[in-house]
């Protein structure tokens, strides 16, 4: 599961004009008490984050400019060598390509399917709670377990996928799936889509429920067909949420790791390696700590602009409401 990320800036409180949080009419003694309590309350948060997040991040910056192998505590300074190697490493570009495929398909897939499902269930009242539970369930399962079970399904000789293909006469399509470099990445991606679908579906469904059905009915009476109603009436109303989900799944594409790691280990022969798994294996299997960290930083630099954009979107939704 990727955690959806809430918005950035404090929403302006419409009842209090002026900068939020400034209670200028309160007596000084209250303001001081508030300040004291504020510091007290926020201290544990800051301490934990400083120790377990900020400090290692600072170290990351240090690691990328040296050549650290995990053992020698005074590693030599190498300047930008890690980055220049990174950009010339064909495996990095191959991994990046896999991330790109994952980002595109892994975003479009759940969105289209999730939207289709939500539209389907929009009018269905009976059993909708059951459906929601069933569809959301895969998303909350531990990814490693999902990976294991789908590994069984993909097994060429005994797994269900090939068996079913044979049964329905599509036996020509049976293949090694996870061991076949042409299909492996897509097979793993399909598993991820299967798991993410429910999450997208539930959120879109609740967004759809905020849509003004009168408008939709009016459009139908005017002769607009399903596709037109979707495009012109429904989608614009849920656009903020839609965009927000897009960004969430998109961000997930940058940090994909677990499914690939467990299902193929990046194989065969690196065919399914993504930046995350390549960073991990460089650091923890080949002891090239600095190189792995450099890769991780590159992932971050690419992901951060999207994360920022996501927060802006969410801020807008929080202010305007999901149906705006």
């Amino acid at each position: 599961m990727t955690a959806p990320a809430p918005a950035l800036a404090p929403p302006a409180d419409p009842r209090r004009p002026g900068p939020p949080g400034r209670r200028s009419h309160l007596p000084a003694v209250t303001r001081r008490a508030q300040a004291r309590l504020g510091v007290l309350l926020v201290l544990p948060l800051l301490v934990v984050m400083a120790v377990f997040l900020l400090f290692p991040m600072a170290n990351a910056i240090y690691y990328v400019f040296v050549d650290f192998d995990g053992i020698d505590l005074t590693p030599p300074f190498v300047g930008l060598d890690n980055f220049s190697e990174l950009f010339r490493d064909p495996k990095v570009w191959a991994a990046f390509k896999n991330n790109a495929i994952w980002i595109v398909l892994g975003t479009i897939g759940p969105l289209v399917l999730g939207l289709a499902l939500a539209l389907l269930l929009w009018n269905v009242e009976r059993g909708s709670v059951v459906y929601k539970v069933v569809f959301f369930l895969p998303y909350v399962l531990p990814q490693v377990a999902v990976a294991v079970v789908w590994g069984w399904i993909y097994e060429p000789s005994r797994g269900w996928l090939n068996k079913v293909l044979d049964l329905v006469g599509l036996g020509a399509f049976t293949t090694g799936w996870l061991g076949n470099p042409d299909t492996a990445l897509y097979a793993v991606l399909a598993t991820a889509i299967w798991a993410t679908l429910g999450f997208v579906f539930v959120i879109l469904l609740s967004a759809l429920r905020t849509v003004d059905t009168d408008l939709v009915d009016a459009a139908r009476l005017d002769g607009a067909n399903g596709a037109q109603r979707l495009r012109h009436i429904v989608l614009p109303q849920i656009m903020p949420v839609f965009l927000m989900i897009t960004t969430i799944t998109l961000l997930g594409g940058f940090s994909v790791f677990e499914y690939v790691f467990v299902m193929t280990g990046g194989g065969p022969a690196g065919a399914t390696d993504v930046l995350g798994t390549y960073a991990y294996s460089s650091a923890f299997q080949l002891n090239r700590i600095s190189y792995g960290t450099s890769l991780a930083l590159v992932i971050t630099l690419m992901a951060v602009p999207f994360a920022v954009w996501l927060n802006r979107l969410q801020r807008r939704i929080a202010l305007d409401g999901p149906g705006a």
Partner: protein, 424 residues
Amino acid sequence: MKLFPARTAVVTACLLATACTGGTTESAGGDDGGGSTATLRYLIEQQEDASSQEALQEHIDADFTQESGIEVEVESLPLEVMRTVLQTQLRSGEGPDVFAWGSGPSFGGALAEAGLVRDLTSDYEEHGWEVYDFARERVTVDGKVYGLPGEAETIGLYYNKDVFAELGLEEPQSLDDVRAASEAVREAGMTPMAVGDKEGWEGGHLLSMALSSAVGSDGMEALVSGEQPWTSPEVVAALQLWKDFDAAGFLPESPTSVDYDTSTALFFSGDAAMIPTGSWLVAEIEDNADFEVGYIPFPAPDGPGIFAGGLGSGPYVSANTDDEDASLEFLDFLASPEHAQWTVENLATIPPREVDSDELEVSPLFGQVLEDTAELSASGDFGYNIDVLVSDAFNEAMYDGMQAVFTGQSTPEQVAATLEAAQS
């Protein structure tokens, strides 16, 4: 160190590790009472089979602690984990007193260079430890012996004797025999050879056994030491061999999708007539195969090949141990013929020393394996299992390379070139 689980951490829970969070175990533990020696910490790799570790602890308690009064606590960690933490532990002085680790430059050799293990050269003399020469060489760095060799392992070709008999096939004596046998098996509707390469490490063995038989022990030595480049035609030919076998339908479909489990299942169920893997399989054969099994060296182009062999993990003494005497006494126990016999009978491993197999309770197959190993240790004529002798980077290139050969992502020539590049 087992030769095969180089990359994937080999499994199952460590009974002891989970027990050691709280309670004491049956043997070692806190009740140290008055004045007896402190407990020796013996760290080993996590065994594939949890009960092996338990058995080991019991054996040590019964046969060593009783007599010497020295308590030993057996702990274990997965291989991958040990790689990362072992050096730190040894340096910090909080590490184990005795630990089992591989030999070769990326294992014991590295520790020896870093001064983290005790030089045992004189101890060998003092205690009269006897091990096979080649094994002793493997744990020697710069003329100094740094550890006791671990169990020997060989890799070769198993075949289903019953199926062969049915098809009128003889034990293969050359690659051509293997090809002919494979074709016959294939015609009969079965899979000739159970080969899985999903995890990647299997590829290292496939290459090692084919190459060893083709170039002999001298040839392997030359390659591993760097005298001969990995781009030599024999290397390419060995890679090409497996590609050809795959193309001829001798292997299961898409070997890179078949994991080790499935490949052994194929062999044990009788669906595949042969399986190229290592001597560790013997133990499982007894439990799982209801047919006769033969084990031969992987054949060479022009005749029977030689087994490729290597050493597993053997005990080292930490340079920072608090109790040298106890550690050495323990090592003496581990080097003894009694312990060697115990490992044969209970762990189905091959000790790095001679044992009298007539006295032991082993299956005929394992007895044969023991004899073969003794022979090849004496003659020195055996090939290498590459992955214990080279760096992690080389192993990665080799594992990826074999997979790439199977899937067509690279040609054998290309793979050979990456091997040569990774040699540095």
